[in-house]
Subunit: 362 residues, 2 copies
């Protein structure tokens, strides 16, 4: 069953499975992204779950297997709220596709990102309840959905290291922006792994399995990995890829949009920026002369450590064609790569080159 948001203004790239993102101007309307503007990333079905009969299973390397109702889960520990940005590893893939084709992947623009207040129980409370065995290295999540992966019907799944799972900010979440999760965002329960790519925040959570070895779920073992540019789908050895976990520094211009015409004179440029956990955005810079000189933008709203920030800067633009460039620096003094051509990879992940928007000034 595919649930569609009513009267959505999202750009729908795919209907089955449903994959949709907001345009940039919509994204910048509010710092916490309302659910109707939040990107939808699915790999298969959107399951219809009866909350009364729902059970979360905890198993694997545990001293005590558990099967928890939603009420039991909620009563395990006080609720925690975390403001976290979810960003898909494929955000800005369309720019990589312009360098060289990428097959079988959604041509995401720069809107597969959104921020919400997530409320739930810390995953760590669940780990304490089942008593983790000493050999445990990974915590694997399996969804209730059904997806097609290379001709097989599978459940979407993902895993994180035990260390990350002990962070008090990794949640088993049942609310998004003070409302119950909607079906397309994981009702009745999803994982939220702040600071990691969205794929790790498994929706419609069915099962948590403690493991010694890495997960074999195809979406963990043969997807969401990075490879050097010479590797293709034909030559890939999945075991050699870099599993993508942490978000990387990124900055995007949401206003104006590519191809827009703006009036000459002082013009307000706006956008978002995001950084890896522990290294917040320190500075956002805009260039209108191809990177020769940079203006520092004002960061107008932020909610560290797991959230994007919004920035804006007003620049005087002369008539003619103009390319806007943006880049961010983080508190570790790191900045983004200049050239998208150096980031191409055959799955089209993790593009964080300087964002370039061509506009016309009249």
């Amino acid at each position: 069953m595919a649930v569609r948001p009513g009267k959505s203004q999202l750009i729908v790239h795919q209907e089955h499975p449903l994959n949709a993102e907001p345009p940039g101007d919509l994204l910048h309307q509010s710092f916490l992204t309302p659910r109707q503007h939040f990107f939808i990333r699915t790999h298969g079905s959107i399951p219809a779950v009866d909350p009364a009969s729902y059970r979360l299973l905890l198993n694997g390397l545990v001293q005590r297997t558990r099967s928890l109702s939603l009420d039991e889960l909620r009563s395990m520990a006080p609720a925690r709220t975390v403001t976290a940005t979810l960003e898909c590893a494929g955000n800005r893939r369309n720019e990589l596709m312009a360098v060289k084709p990428i097959r079988g992947e959604v041509p995401w623009r720069a809107g597969v990102i959104g921020t919400a207040q997530w409320r739930g129980v810390a995953l760590r409370e669940g780990l304490l309840a089942v008593r983790v065995e000493a050999d445990t290295r990974y915590v694997a999540f399996t969804s209730l959905d059904e997806a097609q992966f290379e001709g097989e019907t599978v459940h979407f799944g993902s895993a994180i290291a035990l260390e990350k799972a002990y962070s008090p900010d990794v949640l088993l979440a049942y609310e998004m922006n003070d409302e119950p999760l909607t079906p397309e965002h994981g009702f009745p329960l999803r994982v939220i792994v702040p600071g990691y790519i969205g794929a790790r925040s498994v929706k419609w959570l069915r099962e948590i399995t403690l493991r010694e070895r890495p997960s074999t779920n195809p979406y963990q073992a043969r997807d969401y990995k990075l490879f050097p540019p010479e590797i293709t789908g034909q030559t890939v050895d999945w075991s050699r890829g870099k599993t993508i976990e942490d978000l990387v520094l990124n900055a995007v211009i949401t206003t104006p949009q590519e191809g827009e015409t703006v009036a000459a004179g002082p013009t307000r440029i706006q956008g978002y920026a995001i950084a890896g956990e522990g290294t917040p955005v320190e500075r956002v810079e805009l260039s209108v002369d191809g990177g020769k000189t940079w203006r520092t933008a004002n960061i107008i709203e932020r909610a560290d450590p797991y959230s994007w920030c919004f920035w804006e800067v007003t620049v005087a633009l002369a008539t003619g064609d103009c390319q806007l460039l943006v880049r961010a620096w983080d508190t570790s003094k790191q900045t983004q790569p200049e050239d998208v051509r150096q980031l191409w990879n055959f799955k089209g992940y993790m593009n964080n080159a300087w964002h370039r928007v061509k506009i016309h000034v009249s």
Copy 2:
């Protein structure tokens, strides 16, 4: 008591406390750094510890306080060996000092880095033994040394997040390259936190304290933090700094050295590169034309995930003055900042700008 390595070829910046580093050519002689070539970073005394009466204390938010002899510690769990590079946050500070003065800090060159095989017991075994309370967020380490911090006598100390402490690769180490630790490297027991700056790998470990709030040890709370360039020692609010944890991507030319004269023709350039945990070095590039074009170096030895790699590349050099430039890329497709001037901070930490070496070709 200050213990000095006999007939050391280290460059000694300071005698009390002892701070010394190897020159680049020495550093590149072997992939595992022999102890006599390993940098020495101390903040105070080098304590003389009697191993027979030594006890490690585990306390704070635990259900069971422990005091462990070395034998008890060794018998807790099988020994683990981890190959890890330790790098001081102040590595390459001298280049930052050339941009603008930095007061009261050691003028480190590019040799405050070294790699060893560390053997010990996983810290996590100690955590399991004392049973950590649910409120715990940090694991704090205190040394047996005595140091002067702003006129007070203190013990060096540091802390890491509980999540990191659960990594099986964080060690309570008693051996370095198959030999007992030497006094200057932490005998009889030190922490090894792979992937983090050296300051977190506390030597002469006296005490492990589980805490809900961040450590107040001055070396954690008022040191080893990053600030924007406009902040100085006079204006600093320490609570607003970014606590430095993960190592960042870095590449250094060890041969030839700055100011050296080499013969024209094919010349072998060598060095090391290091990356953050989970994002190994993917490529090292050398430029002899100021960054217009880049040659890919060969990575000749590596030991991921916590270790540097060694690289080399042979380039044809024409007579005259020449500037060699090196930069690395990691598997997350990130690269280093170009310009050291953009990295200046008043404590002089984390310089990872493109490394530049000026030589003369005759």
